[in-house]
Amino acid sequence: MLASFHKYRHAFLIGLQSNIVYRWNFAVRGFFSLFHLAVVFILWGAAFAATPNIGGFALGPTLTYFVVLLVLQFFIGAFNEDYQISEEIRNGLINQFLLKPINYFVYRFSIFLAARLVSGALILVPLLLAFPAIRGYLAFPHEWWRLALGVPALALSALLQFSIAYCFGLLTFWFLEIQGFVILSMAVESVLGGQMFPLDLLPAWVFHGAQFLPFYYQMYFPGAIITGRLNDPHVILRGIGLEACWVLVLLAIAQTLWVRGLRRHTAVGG
């Protein structure tokens, strides 16, 4: 058990080093995210000019929601893990893992955690620069239980997002090009994950239905706990339970894809 832990700790540390090499790429991406945040502030600011609250929330809590989502994206979101896995399969680099006592999912997840640590730290830099301009809009709730429920929801969300990216990466066993599927899925995730707008602004029956899909737990659920859009601890606990179920389902799908994919895989060369 301990030996296994050390094995993946090293994978994590190597991941950390290789991601620090790409710190400028993350920094540039973080910088451009500020422009996206500017679009959000301008659009929703103009929408709130005509009405004091939208969906029961004032401008401040709504903008806080989008700021938190931006931070979460860099801390727990899957960036290009699907492409990396796809490349490893396509280029045959995956072959080295087949002969070693390494679980490929855990190995990739260790690297994912390292990458998110670097990208998460780097998004704080542009946010700190923008802080004087946005701090007047930020409005966080103060209940302590949000932290206690928010942390497990965030951890499960990270695992959920990585599992989805992992499954898309494994599709390379069947398809030569997965980019189209990934971007198609991103469009669905951006809506049903609450990245375009808070999901509670949708008609009640759509919002209720969305809670049974995994996308709801990718961003909206942890974001809504932290920013006060979800207020009932019992509802949140039930949500964490559903989130855990989706994680298990996705882990099962990932394992099935891995086993079946390897049957199709041909390792060539020495």
């Binding site: 451009f32 422009f35 009405t51 939208i54 198609l184 469009a187 809506v191 375009m196 602004l201």
Partner: protein, 262 residues
């Protein structure tokens, strides 16, 4: 000029044949673009479920604006995106040599080698959004208004093209232009917002300094409120200005190009 048209037609024919070979790919990418356009329209729809006006624009005025922005972007994706996207990679790998040896203007050859029929197909959807919004607004533009709108959309296409050429030309200096295209998409997000929503520094930066807002606002305003000489003149001026900057940056960058092939 005629020779370049012949070259472009040959490239277009090659792109269509290639698309017919990879039909599955064509369907997936058409769906990708269609989904992303739907996402933007859904955002507008959700916002207007809770408010009646955004910066003085009604729901269908806003949809006409977003439709116009999408129309310009679909044309860019259809006619130039793949070629310019590959330009960044080709500069890094040295494959850009191929374009230097071709019998035509280098920027023209590098920009028009590939057409994306999926982008062009979705321009019909974007055009449909504009028509539907105009119908909902009970607009009855004359032939001259439509011709002016089309002309302004083409000016917008020139501006978008110029921004993309400038962005991708960064590869001549940085070697790797990976991720720079993300900057283009971020900047064009502003083109889906009404000009009146911008205040203070944002107004100066995105309305006056960068052409990201005017490209869509000018044609949309023209079709909603009628001909405005100031808007048209401004759009033509910045289209010429940014196209000039793009050509300058591209050829300055080209001087730095050193082939990477053996």
């Amino acid at each position: 000029m005629l020779r370049h048209l012949e070259i472009w037609l040959a490239c277009a024919r090659y792109s269509v044949v290639r698309t017919l070979m990879f039909r599955g790919d064509f369907i997936v990418w058409s769906l990708v673009e269609f989904f992303w356009m739907s996402v933007n329209l859904l955002l507008i729809s959700v916002i207007y479920d809770h408010t009646t006006s955004v910066a003085g624009w009604s729901k269908y005025e806003m949809m006409l604006l977003v439709g116009t922005a999408m129309l310009i972007q679909r044309f860019l994706m259809g006619f130039f995106w793949s070629s310019l996207f590959e330009m960044g990679r080709n500069v890094r790998t040295g494959n850009f040599d191929f374009f230097l040896a071709q019998p035509g203007n280098i920027l023209f050859m590098a920009s028009t080698r590939k057409l994306d029929p999926d982008g062009l197909l979705n321009s019909l959807v974007a055009g449909g959004v504009v028509l539907y919004s105009a119908h909902k607004l009970d607009l009855h533009p004359g032939l001259a208004d439509v011709a002016l709108y089309v002309f302004m959309v083409l000016c917008g296409l020139v501006i978008h093209y110029s921004i993309l050429v400038i962005s991708m030309s960064a590869a001549f200096w940085l070697t790797s232009a990976q991720g720079i295209e993300g900057g283009y998409f971020t900047l064009t997000e502003f083109s889906r917002l009404p000009r009146e929503a911008f205040r203070g520094v944002a107004r100066f930066l995105f309305v006056w300094l960068l052409p990201t807002v005017v490209v869509s606002n000018a044609p949309a305003q023209a079709i909603i409120h009628g001909f405005n000489l100031r808007w048209v003149g401004w759009l033509i001026a910045i289209a010429i200005g940014w196209f000039g900057v793009a050509i300058f940056v591209f050829y300055r960058g080209l001087r730095r190009y050193t082939s990477a092939s053996s």
